[in-house]
Amino acid sequence: MLSLARLFLILFVGLTVAYVSVSLWSRQVRKGKLRSAWDEGDREYGEERDLYVRRGLEDYDDSFRRKLILLVYIVPLAVIAYIIYVVNYT
């Protein structure tokens, strides 16, 4: 049981680091895209550039796209479950 707890602790720390870095990186990419969209003349989120970027990011915060980053946690756990099944039960 202790080794299972250790595995989960390591996984949790590692995946959280991955989750946070992917989140920051994705938000940065989104910001860059919003800026270049404003520069190209898009005014969907407002006339002013800063306001446009801020509103665009707020929209991104609620998006399904951002929730997809949770796959960082889900995929490894699913892979582990699959490995356990294949190695021990087939």
């Binding site: 080794s3 595995l7 490995i83 190695v87 021990n88 039960y89």
Partner: protein, 213 residues
């Protein structure tokens, strides 16, 4: 400098190759001749042995380990150990050691009437240090000369190299955008400082020479 750089990357590549070759599963076609268990006292090779079965007491200095004796197609012997990896490294999550031993015993055959078995294992057999590969699965095969395509290894290596490449590209871009301008700035500042000093010295020596006249 170039040699040091290449030596560094060469060593990194060697370590990576050894790591993957040690950890990733490999397949052998063999014939199981017998199975046994033996009490093992772990010494300086203890790092190559797995842990005690999941749920058992930990920290023992010795325990019984299952072994599977096999003969390869070319007639040479190959002995596997059969241990739980449990929740530890490498992440095979193998808990069915006793079941595997039962299957392996069931597949025993003689050289006159061979039953060919595909054994999946990791780790190497190192006779000089009493290191045994750990068997993960046994499966009877009809044709001993079948070609085995290691799909899993291909996928894992592809994902690994794709990740390394993606991080590398982003790091290079980040360096060009954020770090190179700073270095250039410092460079320029240094140039200005040097130019200024040269100019001042010029003025000073001109002033000196004005006294020499």
């Amino acid at each position: 400098m170039v040699y040091i750089k290449w030596a560094f990357w060469g060593i990194i590549a060697l370590i990576l190759f050894a790591f993957f070759h040690y950890t990733l599963p490999q397949h052998d076609i063999v014939r199981v001749s017998d199975t046994y268990e033996k009490r093992v006292d772990f010494g300086e090779n203890s790092i190559f042995w797995a842990k005690e079965d999941t749920g058992n007491a930990t920290g023992n200095i010795n325990r019984d380990v299952f072994f599977i004796q096999t003969i390869k197609k070319n007639g040479k012997p190959l002995v596997y150990r059969n241990e739980d990896t449990g929740w530890g490294w490498p992440p095979y999550f193998k808990f069915d050691t006793s079941n595997l031993q039962t299957q392996a015993s069931d597949l025993r055959s003689t050289s006159e009437n061979p039953k060919w078995v595909m054994v999946t294992h990791y780790v190497w057999r190192v006779e000089f240090w009493t290191v045994f590969p750990n068997a993960i699965a046994v499966k009877q095969v009809a044709d001993p000369d079948m070609t085995i395509i290691p799909w899993l290894n291909i996928i894992i290596l592809l994902i690994f190299f794709a990740t390394v490449w993606a991080i590398r590209v982003r790091w290079i871009r980040f360096r060009q955008r954020r770090i190179d301008p700073i270095v250039e700035d410092v460079d320029e500042g240094w140039d200005n400082l040097a130019d200024g000093a040269r100019e001042r010295r010029g003025r000073f020596s001109r002033w000196l020479s004005s006294w020499r006249r």
